[in-house]
Amino acid sequence: MKRAIFRDIAVALVGAAATVSATVVAATGDPPPERVVHVLASRFEFTPSTIRVKRGEPVVFAVESIDRLHGFKIPALGVRIQAIPDQETLVRVIPDKAGHMAIVCDVFCGEGHEDMDAELIVEE
């Protein structure tokens, strides 16, 4: 199966006030050297279900669905992208606060949608 890689890099500037400005920058050349966390979305789970990152360190979430359209949303950081089948969507995040945060699917995907979440742990 031909797999399309859709590079849609959103630079998310996250702050405690939860006001996020995000700009989409077309990818040129090699991907940024930050840590990349690959996330697979499927009915009704994210894999991995727990992700640990460091406060202040950039991380790129590379999110792909293996079955249907899902949402990948981190409300506490103002991050929201789609998880698309056979496409990888990237979002670059620099978390500036530590804590346990919910990652949720915000695209209703069937019975079990309410159970579709993961945990982001931002460590000092």
Partner: protein, 297 residues
């Protein structure tokens, strides 16, 4: 300005919010009550017809009929009844979806009051962008006037991403544009328009845009469902009231790590947390009265 307040505080702000609470245990009777209101309507929400119980409601197939019987037994009949979404429980199978909608509609037809309005929930509409819903219940968003009050039904579920969408927002703005700014407006919808608890997907993606459109109007109240519990919230001068469901109660926002499991069925208190609501209005004022009716075992 946003405020979250509990029911007792909310009752104390009746003049500010334009809403008063009354006890819901059958007090809407007699000529005095009738004189106090010009009309009332009933809100029923989250019936989830087709849900198999799964321990959350072993009486899943009797709760809706019980509610209908209770509404029919009201000594004073409502002018109309509105179901604010999740009429049926979701399924991937389009034939099953339509079967459930047909069964639900057959139950609703037993209501003595024949002016019955419907809105979809995500369970009804998200899997097929309201294709089946439209076959049975018509257009998901609409407006109507009743005794001086303008009612607007907003669809925030047919888009599985829980967005109202630019076209519908334009329709909403156009619908309200030429109305007097002090005309009472009642908004009916399924999901909260404000970010009640985004970690549990209790929000509408572009609900802030709808609230911006509503804000110039002085007397707006929103009735919605989705969260399976009574909840009261203010965004500026706009009051938002969530309704209990007819299937299972859900935990209070943030009270547990996840929104599941729902509140467990209590055999000692069957149907606890389930019910419907009366909303009474008085012509010439923007004041509404809300009465909550629990389902009787």
């Amino acid at each position: 300005m946003t405020i979250e307040i509990d029911r007792r505080e909310f009752a104390g702000l009746a003049g500010l919010a334009g809403v008063a609470f009354v006890s819901g245990l059958g007090l809407r009777t007699g000529p005095a009550a009738a004189a106090a209101q010009d009309f009332f309507f009933v809100q029923i929400s989250d019936t989830h017809w087709g849900f198999d119980g799964k321990g959350a409601n072993p009486e899943a197939d009797t709760t809706l009929p019980k509610a209908i019987a209770q509404v029919n037994a009201l000594s004073r009949k409502p002018d109309f009844i509105v179901f604010t979404g999740d009429l049926t429980h979701t399924t991937d199978d389009g034939q099953v979806r339509r079967k459930r909608m047909a069964e639900f509609k057959a139950h609703a037809a037993k209501l003595v009051v024949k002016d019955v309005r419907f809105l979809p929930g995500e369970h009804d509409a998200a899997p097929d962008r309201a294709a089946a819903y439209r076959e049975f219940f018509g257009t998901p968003n609409y407006s109507f006037d009743h005794k001086g009050v303008h009612f607007v039904a907003i669809d925030n579920v047919s888009d599985p991403g829980a967005a109202i969408g630019a076209a519908q927002l334009e329709w909403l703005a156009s619908d309200l544009r030429d109305r007097p700014r002090d005309q009472p407006v009642v908004v009916l919808t399924h999901r909260p328009l404000f970010p009640l608890y985004p970690d549990w997907d209790w929000t509408t993606a572009d609900g802030d845009k709808a609230i911006d459109i509503l804000m110039p109007h002085k007397n707006v109240v929103v009735f919605y469902g989705h969260i399976h519990q009574e909840h009261h919230f203010m965004t500026g001068h706009i009051a938002h009231h969530a309704a209990t469901s007819l299937i299972f109660a859900q935990p209070a926002p943030g009270s547990q790590p996840k929104r599941t499991p729902p509140v467990a069925w209590d055999p000692a208190a069957p149907f606890k947390g389930l019910g419907f609501r009366e909303v009474g209005a008085k012509t010439g004022t923007a004041k509404l009265e809300i009465a909550e009716y629990p389902i009787k075992a």
